[in-house]
Symmetry: C2
Subunit: 418 residues, 2 copies
C-alpha cells in the first residue's frame, strides 16, 4: 500500500501539469463554450490509461464513457468536464483559465470542481495500474458535460444505456475534507429547482419623474421575492415543506447540528438585475426586472411539485405579472448507510487521511445522483479532494496539492480493496 | 411675428445639422466623458451668435455662461450640456451618439434632453436677432454640465456669482406639450434624493449549496427594499410625508387628477443588481447586493431630512448591514403662478402652439430650480420642445422637428415681448 501512495506522491507534479492543461479549456456549459474540445481532451486522457473510450452523444454535450479492467463486478465513477461561469472576473487574482500554481495549490476555474477530481482519480488509477498491474473488476468512467447546468440530458442517457452503466457501486464526483481536515463520506445530495423570474412592466425604461404614474418592474419583482421567504429563512410558499424527511430516519449515527441543517431546504437568490447598475446615478423606471432563484430540496421533495406550488403562490398573491421559467431541476437522492461501499470508503479514508471519516447522509449541493440511485439501483458514495475553502463556483477556485494527493490515495485504497 | 416664425422654419435644417454635431459628443456626466469638449462646442455656438461668453470653473464640470443684449432688465436661460448614460445600448435602433434623422425626428442621446432644448432656444434667438436686430434687455445663458448627476456644484456657483446671474425672470430647461399637443407652462420641479444602498454579507460569492448556513446579501437587500414601500405605493419610512404641501394651496386653477398625482412623492428603484445575471444558471450566494433608489420629493420635503429618516427606518428594522450612500440631492421648488413671466409665457404659447397652454404647478422630474428660486428670488417658467413620447433618459430618445420649431417660436415670441 505504501507503494500506491509513493507512486501518487512521485507523480504529483506531472498530474498537476496535466490538470493545468485541462483547466485552460474554458468549458463553461452555461455559455456552451469549448465543450467539444474539453470532451476530446478528457477522452485522450482516458485512452492514454488504456481505457476503452467512446463519446456518447446526447441532445446536448457529449458524455465521455470509458471502461478498464475485467471481471463480473464493476465500479462506476461519475464526474463532469464542464465548469461554472468564471464571473466576476475582476475578483480573480490570476485569470480563471490561466491556471496558476502558488502557495501549495493550483488556482483555476475547474481546479477542484470537477477537473481536479477527475485528475485525482486518474492519479489513483495510475498508481493502481503501476503497482498492481491489473484490475480484477471493471472501472466504468462516466464524465458528462452538463452538470453545471443541471444535467438536462443525463436521465435519458441513463435510461437508454442502463445495461452499460449498471455497476455494483458508484463513486460520486465531489467530496474531500471538512474545515478540520476530517474526510467526509457523503451519501446523498439535495435536489434543485432553478428558476428565472421576470417582470416586464413597460415597453422601455422611462424617466423616473413619472414614477407616481407608471408601473415598476423592479418593485413588482422585489415584492414578489419578499413574499417567498421571511427574515427567519422560512420559505412561505404553501406546501413547500411537504414531504421533507426527518434526518433521524436516515442515518445510523447521530447527526450533528451542522449536518442536520442540510435537511432544511433553501430558497436562494443567485442573481437579480434591473435598470441602471453602473457608476453614478441614472434616474429611470426600469422596463424589466429579472432574478434567478435556486431552491435546494431534500428527500422527498420533488422539484416539479415545488415549481407548481411557486406558480400557485405567486398567482394567489396577484403576481400573475411575474413570469417564471424553470431552467434546471434535479431530484434529491440519498444512499443506504449500510452498503458495503460505505464501509470500504470509510476504512480507506481513515488510512489515507489519517482521521476517521465523517459519514454525511446529505450534502448541501445538488447533482444528478437521483438518476443513478433510482434508475440503476446502486449505492453511491461521494469522496474527493476538496475542502470548504476551495471556492467552488467562486473566484479563485483552487485545489490544495496535499488534498489532491490524499484524495488520490483514498481512492487508490478503494480500488485496491474493491 | 410671422417673420420670426418664417425665419425659424427656413433655418430648421441648419439647426438640426448643428444639433446633430452637438449630440455626437458623448457628454455623459455620470461617466465624466467628453464634458470639456462639449462645453467648448457650446461656448463656440454662443460666440457665433455674438454672446460674450466665459467658462466658469466649478469643482466639477465647467459652466458655460454667456450674455447678449443691453438694458437694465434681464432674462436668464438655464440649460445643461451633459446627458444621461445611453444604456442599454442594444435597445437603440441607431447608436445613441450617431444622430439619425428619420420619420420627422432626430434620434440621439441628448436630442431632446437637453441639447435639443439648447438648440431650439438658439433658433429662437437667431430669429429675433435677424428680424428685430437688437435685444432691449440682457439675455443671460447659463448652461451647466452636471444636471444629470444632480448639479452638485451649482449651488456654490450661484452663491458666488449671484450678482452676475440675477435676473427679472428665468426660463427653465425642459418643457413642451402633453400627449394631446397642448403646450405646458411648468412652474415647479420635484426635489430628489438619490441613494445607493448596498449589503455585503460574504467576502466572496459562495456555492449556493451552503444557503442553509450562510448569510445572503441579496435577500437582505430585498427585505430592506420591501420595507420601504408597500404594494399600494405608500412609502413606509416614518415621517416621509411630513411637510408635503397640499396642491390646492399652490395653484390658481383647478388641478386635474394627472397633475395632482405629481404632488405625491415617490420612491423608485432605478437599478438593482446582485450575483449572476447572464444567460443560463449559476448557483451562488452573491457576496454583495446593490441598488439605486430615487425619491422624488414635493414642496416642502427636504432631501437631507428624508435621508436621515431612511437611515433611522433601516436601523429600527435591524438593517444596519444595509449601507446607504447619498449620490444626489435637490430640493423641490415652485414659482408663484401670478408672476408676469407666467402670463407672458402663456400668451406666447397660445400663439406659437395654437392651443391654450396648461399651467402645471409642479412637474414630475427634478432639477436645481430651488437654487435659483431660493437664492436669486426670481420667478421661473419651464417651456420647451418635448412631448411625452420623447424617451428622455431612455433608448431612442428623440426630438420631433415640428415640436422643435414650435418650441423655438414660443420662445421667440417671449423674447419679442419681454
Amino acid at each position: 500500500m505504501d507503494a500506491l501512495a509513493a507512486h501518487i506522491d512521485q507523480n504529483i507534479n506531472a498530474r498537476i501539469e496535466e490538470l493545468s492543461k485541462l483547466c485552460a479549456i474554458p468549458s463553461v456549459s452555461a455559455r456552451r463554450d469549448s465543450l467539444k474540445d474539453c470532451a476530446a481532451a478528457v477522452r485522450a486522457m482516458l485512452q492514454l490509461r488504456g481505457f476503452d473510450v467512446r463519446l456518447i452523444e446526447t441532445g446536448g454535450q457529449p458524455v465521455v464513457y470509458g471502461e478498464l479492467g475485467d471481471g463480473p463486478r464493476s465500479l462506476l465513477l461519475y464526474n463532469h468536464y464542464d465548469v461554472q461561469p468564471p464571473d466576476p472576473l475582476e475578483l480573480w487574482t490570476t485569470p480563471p483559465f490561466q491556471p496558476s500554481r502558488r502557495d501549495g495549490a493550483l488556482y483555476a476555474r475547474g481546479a477542484i470542481d470537477d477537473k481536479g477530481e477527475i485528475m485525482s482519480r486518474l492519479a489513483a488509477l495510475d498508481a493502481v495500474l503501476a503497482v498492481l498491474k491489473r484490475l480484477p473488476y471493471r472501472v466504468k468512467f462516466l464524465i458528462e458535460g452538463e452538470e453545471e447546468i443541471g444535467s438536462p440530458n443525463l436521465e435519458s442517457l441513463i435510461r437508454e444505456h442502463a445495461p452499460l452503466l449498471r455497476a455494483d457501486a458508484c463513486i460520486w464526483e465531489a467530496g474531500g475534507c471538512d474545515e478540520n481536515g476530517r474526510p467526509e463520506i457523503v451519501l446523498g445530495l439535495r435536489g434543485l429547482l432553478y428558476v428565472e423570474m421576470s417582470v416586464r412592466s413597460l415597453e422601455y425604461d422611462a424617466h423616473s419623474g413619472h414614477a407616481h404614474a407608471l408601473p415598476s418592474a423592479a418593485w413588482r419583482l422585489v415584492w414578489a421575492l419578499s413574499s417567498l421567504k421571511n427574515q427567519d429563512a422560512r420559505v412561505l410558499i404553501p406546501g413547500f415543506y411537504e414531504g421533507c424527511r426527518c434526518p433521524s430516519l436516515n442515518a445510523r449515527q447521530p447527526i450533528e447540528d451542522l449536518q442536520s441543517a442540510v435537511f432544511s431546504p433553501t430558497c436562494n437568490i443567485s442573481g437579480v438585475s434591473a435598470g441602471y447598475t453602473d457608476h453614478g446615478s441614472k434616474t429611470i423606471i426600469p422596463a424589466e426586472a429579472r432574478c434567478k432563484i435556486d431552491f435546494r430540496l431534500v428527500p422527498d421533495q420533488d422539484p416539479e411539485d415545488v415549481a407548481v406550488k411557486l406558480r400557485a403562490h405567486l398567482d394567489r398573491l396577484g403576481f400573475d405579472d411575474v413570469k417564471v421559467v424553470t431552467l434546471d431541476r434535479l431530484r434529491p437522492a440519498m444512499s443506504d448507510p449500510g452498503a458495503a461501499i460505505v464501509r470500504l470508503a470509510a476504512q480507506a479514508g481513515k488510512a489515507a487521511w489519517g482521521i476517521e471519516p465523517a459519514i454525511v447522509p446529505l450534502a448541501g449541493g445538488s447533482g444528478p445522483m437521483a438518476f443513478f440511485v433510482e434508475l440503476l439501483k446502486m449505492p453511491i458514495v461521494s469522496i474527493g479532494c476538496s475542502y470548504p475553502g476551495a471556492r467552488k463556483h467562486a473566484p479563485n477556485e483552487h485545489v490544495r496539492l496535499g488534498d489532491f494527493a490524499r484524495g488520490a490515495k483514498h481512492l487508490a485504497r478503494i480500488f485496491a480493496s474493491f
